[in-house]
Amino acid sequence: MSEVFTKSMARNIYYGGSAFFILLFLALTFDTASEVPKRDNHEAITEQVALGKKVWEENNCIGCHTLLGEGAYFAPELGNVYTRFGESTEAIIGFIQSRPVEGIPGRRSMPQFNLSDEELQAIAQFLKYVNGINTSGWPPNIQG
């Protein structure tokens, strides 16, 4: 077989192809950056929401729940919990507050995080903000 297959050509394709697709990815990222503000519900971001995100992170909520489908799959999706709880931040707060310290025998239970009133309000507002992000219709239904 007189076929030619050289390492230098394979190398050129690796470098050329990578550079090509890095540039393309950056171009799409650039476009995304200008489109995201139309969908991300940033108008709803307040000091309180920022605090809520901190509460969300510092209690590792993502370690059990998903948020917009990302996270752990042990506990319900929370990206749409505001809708699921009847658009009530009070219902969210009530749920978090009512978790028993020792759990529920034989069942999964959310830990009692002993959040302050300010933190409870903030996490609820954060979840309300996330609920307002345009996620192209995901999740398919209210159960997440």
Partner: protein, 470 residues
């Protein structure tokens, strides 16, 4: 061992296996919590166990990659490592930092850990896989920089091979992309968008370069096939991996608030992502079939082939199953995602690290290969771990499909927790498979201690033929 300094790889590999055991134990705890929700509650809540499980995975794989680099770079570069001392110091820094972080997860509530480590100054905690305190993240960056420096200087000063240069590219990419873990805006869409630049561009980008170079190195050694041939194909495979994988990031951008065109771009390019994995499988089997020598380390050859097959199944096939946007609409964030995650991580990255350990550990201990009895035990552990992972994946896939049918793809969707009760049987079977996996892992470790049978003793660095011909 051709070069004295390769010996620094040994503690890295030992630490990797030690942490691997920890990872599996916490995996079993979580598996138990899936069926008995109050197991170890409130002492070790699920989120803590999961954090330990995933973080240990990442840390031990990094230990494995570093050990692999310390082992293969001197041999490829044909010179001693730039600074074995630096490698030893970084080993202890990384191990202590890792251990302290895990202890922090286990001993104090996460919120308290955030407070103690002053997360307020630069909040980066509490995002999936990036839960480490900011100070640990900074530590990781420092260790990575020192490591890349040490490896980089060695490579650039010595013989430059494709294997070592691609490995270096992968390691530099790993370090650079990790910097995005410090970007944590309040805006959830942007947070998630760039979070994937760490997570996806690691596992479906630069880590694949590391995987390919380790695999190529082992194949060159165990098959004796001409380096030119192996390196040529390696270039083609990683080119395909990056071509499909970079824009393939888009399959994570379907439902997080990013523009809708990602549904098209992400679907189209991630549909191609199985191709490089398929090529890798064909390539690995081809090279082994064309081998010019019978390497005594049969176990290492098996691990290498296993990596190629399982990476294709886990990352390629199980990834493709739910990567197209119309399918992903129903599968996103279900147990199907977990199924894919388990087999892909095991097949691609766990197995490649076990491959290089299997190949290099006997050499680091002054033998060319383990004794036939030790290899037999190791091969048993290969099949136990690999098959139990196949079953874990199948059971989680079953759980995922039923979850989707009850909770997503139906006119009468049931609440999440109700559905979880209905798919409990799958979780029990998954836990059973997990126990078998642990048995396999114990066998794997015990293979290092099996004595007996004839050994091919080799002498250290004195230039005896059998040592250097490998």
């Amino acid at each position: 061992m051709k070069y004295q300094s390769q010996a620094v790889a040994k503690p890295y590999f030992i630490a990797a296996i030690g942490l691997f055991i920890g990872q599996i134990l916490f995996g079993l705890i979580m598996g138990m919590q899936y069926v008995a929700g109050d197991f170890l509650f409130p002492e070790i809540p699920f989120n803590v166990a999961r954090m330990v499980h995933t973080n240990l995975l990442i840390v031990w794989l990094l230990f494995g990659f570093m050990g692999a680099a310390y082992f293969l770079v001197p041999e490829e570069s044909e010179r001693e490592l730039h600074s074995p001392l630096l490698a030893k110091i970084l080993f202890w820094v990384f191990l202590v930092a890792g251990a302290l972080t895990v202890l922090g997860y286990l001993l104090v509530p996460y919120a308290r850990l955030a407070e103690l480590t002053m997360n307020d100054l630069l909040p980066t905690m509490g995002r999936e896989f990036l839960e480490q305190p900011t100070i640990t993240k900074i530590g990781i960056v420092i260790v990575a920089l020192g490591f890349v420096y040490n490896i980089g200087v060695t490579i650039l000063a010595g013989r430059k091979t494709v294997v070592s240069l691609v490995l270096l590219t992968g390691l530099v990419g790993l370090a650079v992309l990790f910097l995005f873990s410090f970007y944590n805006p309040v805006n959830v869409v942007n947070d998630k968008f760039y979070w994937w630049w760490v997570v996806h561009l690691w596992v479906e980008g630069v880590w694949e370069l590391i995987l390919a170079s380790i695999l190529a190195f082992v194949l060159i050694k165990v098959t004796g096939v001409d380096r030119e041939v192996i390196e040529k194909w390696m270039y083609v495979i990683i080119a395909m991996a990056l071509i499909s994988g970079l824009i393939g990031t888009g399959h994570h951008y379907f439902w997080i608030g990013a523009p809708e065109y990602w549904q098209w771009w992400g679907s189209i390019f991630s549909a191609l992502e199985p191709i490089p994995f398929f090529m890798m499988t064909v390539f690995a089997f081809n090279m082994v079939n064309r081998r010019r020598r019978e390497h005594p380390n049969k176990a290492a050859v098996l691990w290498a082939l296993g990596t190629a097959v399982m990476a294709f199944l886990g990352a390629g096939v199980w990834g493709f199953l739910h990567t197209l946007a119309p399918v992903n609409y129903y599968t996103h964030g279900s147990q199907l995602t977990a199924a894919h995650g388990h087999m892909a991580f095991y097949g691609a990255y766990v197995m490649i690290v076990l491959t290089i350990i299997s190949y290099s550990m006997p050499i680091l201990r002054g033998q060319k290969a383990g004794s036939p009895r030790a290899q037999k035990v190791e091969i048993w552990s290969f099949w136990l771990m690999t098959l139990s992972m196949v079953f874990i994946t199948l059971f989680l896939t079953g759980a995922g499909i039923q979850q989707i049918l009850l909770q997503r793809y139906t006119d009468n969707p049931l609440p999440f927790m109700v559905v979880q009760d209905k798919i409990e049987m799958f979780y029990w079977m998954r836990e059973g498979a997990g126990v078998v996996f642990l048995v396999g892992l114990i066998l794997y470790v015990s293979a290092f201690f099996v004595k007996g049978g004839e050994r091919e003793e080799i002498t250290d660095s004195s230039g005896m033929a059998s040592a250097t011909s490998s």
